[in-house]
Amino acid sequence: MDDELTAISSSNGMQVGDVGSATEPPDICRVMFDKAFPLYLSMGMTYDEFYNKDHTLTIAYRKSYKMKRERVNEDMWLQGAYVYEAIARLTPLFNPFAKHPKPEPYLDKPYPTFKNDKLPDNKDNAESNAVNDKGMAYMFAQMMKINSKFGEV
């Protein structure tokens, strides 16, 4: 079939190499594809996918690559945040005027990955939450007491 295609182009007085403008190479698409291919290869695309399969796959590969890069960037940012947090918790040790410096313990749990996840709680927070709950219960009881007085009047 390829030979027949050649025959047609020859019969029209065209030869490979004598088409296109003087500045445009005759195999401009091949050059363009060969130039772009290593990039897509680095994104995990195979030769067959790039040259023989649905050409819109390159769009999906580019989007996927951007998402991967964003994820890596977020992971690195998170790692930086943990390092920052760890150093911040150690700062009491660096206080030259403290007699008995005590570093704060590291986070019990990692930061929440998703919106609905709970914030990390360490023991101190858990204790303070329990105290807060007690206080709230007391306040509520007092409010009910006062309200009931007004109700009597």
Binding site: S9, N12, P26, N52, T56
Partner: protein, 106 residues
């Protein structure tokens, strides 16, 4: 999804398309977009034959030519050029073209 040009002849469906390899093959046979409208007859034929390489590479050149004789040629060149350009265009970011300056012709 890749762009395809479909038509049915005698209950047989033909799907014309280009992959990057068939673009290269068509180009190697002498097709070039810059000559598409200045030498339409030869170029249209090359484009037409090249578009069969993806899904119908078992067809003979005579069969392809026979289909060409039967097909409505109105807008065929533009449609085939669209198919041909698609593998090239998919290498470029569509976001860039979205941000491009829009123009109108009166």
């Amino acid at each position: 999804m890749e762009k395809t040009l479909t038509f049915t002849v005698d209950d047989k469906e033909y799907k014309l398309a280009f992959t990057r390899n068939t673009v290269i093959a068509t180009e190697a046979k002498g097709f070039t977009i810059s000559k598409a409208y200045s030498q339409p007859i030869g170029m249209l034929m090359l484009l037409w034959r090249g578009a069969f390489l993806v899904n119908h590479d078992t067809l003979t050149i005579a069969e392809i030519d026979e289909l060409f004789d039967k097909i409505d040629k109105e807008g065929l060149m533009d449609a085939l050029i669209d198919l041909y350009k698609a593998p090239v265009e998919s290498l470029f970011d569509e976001e860039n073209s979205k941000n491009a300056i829009k123009w109108t012709m009166n």
